[in-house]
């Protein structure tokens, strides 16, 4: 880019970017790594391998997986309906899908807890008719995580469905395929990479989620205690080492997911680029 030679402001812009990035993000994040270096390998394994920590990882990952799966199913339906059909109020419903992005997690947390507690609007209904208690159980965590996952799935799928080349559907139809065959053999394989990305995005967001979960979860150790809450608990009990070890593990898992999501997005673009 030889033309960019005349563009002004390279040094101040890049300089400010690097200094600010280091001060706000890189140095604070690296403290977590340095702090964990003070731990011996044995200490680290003792902390992470303790029953309560392992249980919290099981709760966090398990509920995030279930929530991402449920959100994916409903997300496909919602995205499909928003892109393919026209009906009264579509724009309103499409706009409100972003609510979980905009609504502070603490608000989401107390509202969901209120709705699903045994005396709440839906909680009472579910308890009386099906005998299912949602709030203060692991199921409550799943509900909260579905809530925050919705926009990730819908907003990842909508553009892919919008750009989907309908001539492929026409070609399949003219060769005698049924609607169901077209969906399973033509449409679904093409949106699958995006769906996988959406699943990974909501999973990785769900694993770290705190505010919307803690009010509805019940936070019982071994049963409904999520990893972020355990980090906070350890910190409050001045178990800095424990908090650091768990936080570092979470951070590494997040980065692994970031890497995976980047690969998936690359795949999605390749896929849609070929069309």
């Amino acid at each position: 880019m030889s033309q960019s030679q005349i563009m002004p402001g390279f040094r101040p812009a890049l300089g400010f970017t690097l200094v600010y990035l280091s001060l706000i993000v890189l140095i604070p994040l690296s403290t977590l790594v340095f702090k964990s270096f003070q731990l011996s390998w044995d200490d680290y394994l003792r902390i992470i391998g303790s029953k309560r920590v392992l249980a919290s990882f099981r709760v966090s990952f398990g509920s995030a997986l279930i929530a991402a799966a449920i959100a994916s199913v409903f997300g496909v339906i919602v995205a499909w309906v928003m892109v393919r059909y026209s009906f009264f109020g579509r724009k309103f419903f499409d706009a409100i899908i972003d609510l979980p992005f905009a609504l502070p997690t603490a608000v989401a947390g107390i509202v969901l807890a209120t709705i699903f507690q045994p005396t709440g609007v839906l909680g009472k209904f579910l308890l009386d008719t099906f005998g299912i208690q949602v709030a203060f159980k692991p199921l409550g965590i799943v509900i909260a995580l579905i809530f925050i996952s919705i926009p990730f799935v819908v907003r990842t799928l909508e553009p892919v469905l919008l750009e989907f080349d309908t001539t492929m559907e026409e070609a399949a139809a003219s060769m005698g395929a049924s609607r169901w065959q077209i969906f399973t053999k033509v449409i679904f394989p093409n949106i699958f990479p995006a769906l996988l990305t959406a699943f990974a995005l909501s999973f990785s967001r769900s694993v770290g989620e705190y505010g919307s979960v803690i009010f509805i979860a019940g936070n019982l150790p071994f049963v409904s205690e999520i990893v972020p809450l355990l980090i906070v608990t350890k910190l409050e009990q001045y178990e800095i080492e424990g908090a650091t070890a768990i936080a570092l593990t979470m951070l590494l898992i997040s980065f692994l997911f970031l890497f995976l999501i980047n690969l998936l997005q690359l795949w999605t673009h390749k896929r849609s680029g070929q069309l």
Partner: protein, 291 residues
Amino acid sequence: MHAIVQPSTKPLTSNPSTTIRSALQEPLWLKITLIAIALGFIFLFLCLPLLIVLFHAFAKGVGAYWEAILQPDTLAAIKLTLLTALVTVPANTLFGIAAAWAITRFEFRGKSLLTTLIDLPFSVSPVISGVIFVLLFGMQGYFGEWLRDHDIKIVFAIPGIILATLFVTFPFVARQLIPLMQEMGNEEEEAALSLGASSWKMFFKVTLPNIKWALLYGVLLCNARAMGEFGAVSVVSGHIRGLTNTLPLHVEVSYNDYQTVGAFASASILAGLAVVTLVLKTLLEWKQGNR
């Protein structure tokens, strides 16, 4: 024989067009079912929560609602939330513009790494975003003793809240500007420069008008998160009433104290903020012409 064959082949020849049409669209009953499932899901998970906030906020009447909002602790929380946003949003906006300018207008080594690093805070759990500042500035942190000796409070005080909020809202503006400015190219800016415009004149007359909607979009999302952040701020705040409670933290404290009206009155302000954000966001998307 011929006469019998004719009618039976007739439907066959007209069939393909209807089967093609039926293969391109779902039957009406399925359409209606899918729309019902989608809207039912949206209503239960998204509309109902908003209604519940209002219902509980006004459960004991408008008087109790205002009384809860006008409480000194609530007002202090509102003030702190506004202060936090007032510091963090401009700082991250300035950063976003600088980063986007450097990344989209120049070639240098490590550019894609820099772009990845800017997005990093989005993939960090909010709780961890708070923990790192406790590890730096808390009593047992790296600068803990030095700060105590010099009587400076960062953690469990306002600076910590601002730092944690800066961290979680870090990528918003940059993330909106980088793809847009990449796509825009710099021909117009070069033209302005070659016509003798100064650097600042070029920025304010050419660049800024071109990026203004994306910039506002980024600022809007940044602000929503800055005012609503809970996890990160909760770790560094220490929950001191009237001093280090932001509005989301005040919601938590009131709720845990079984002050339902107080919790939901504060929550209604934040929910109102979310709704305003969504409306403006939709308007800006419409302005930008995408989606």
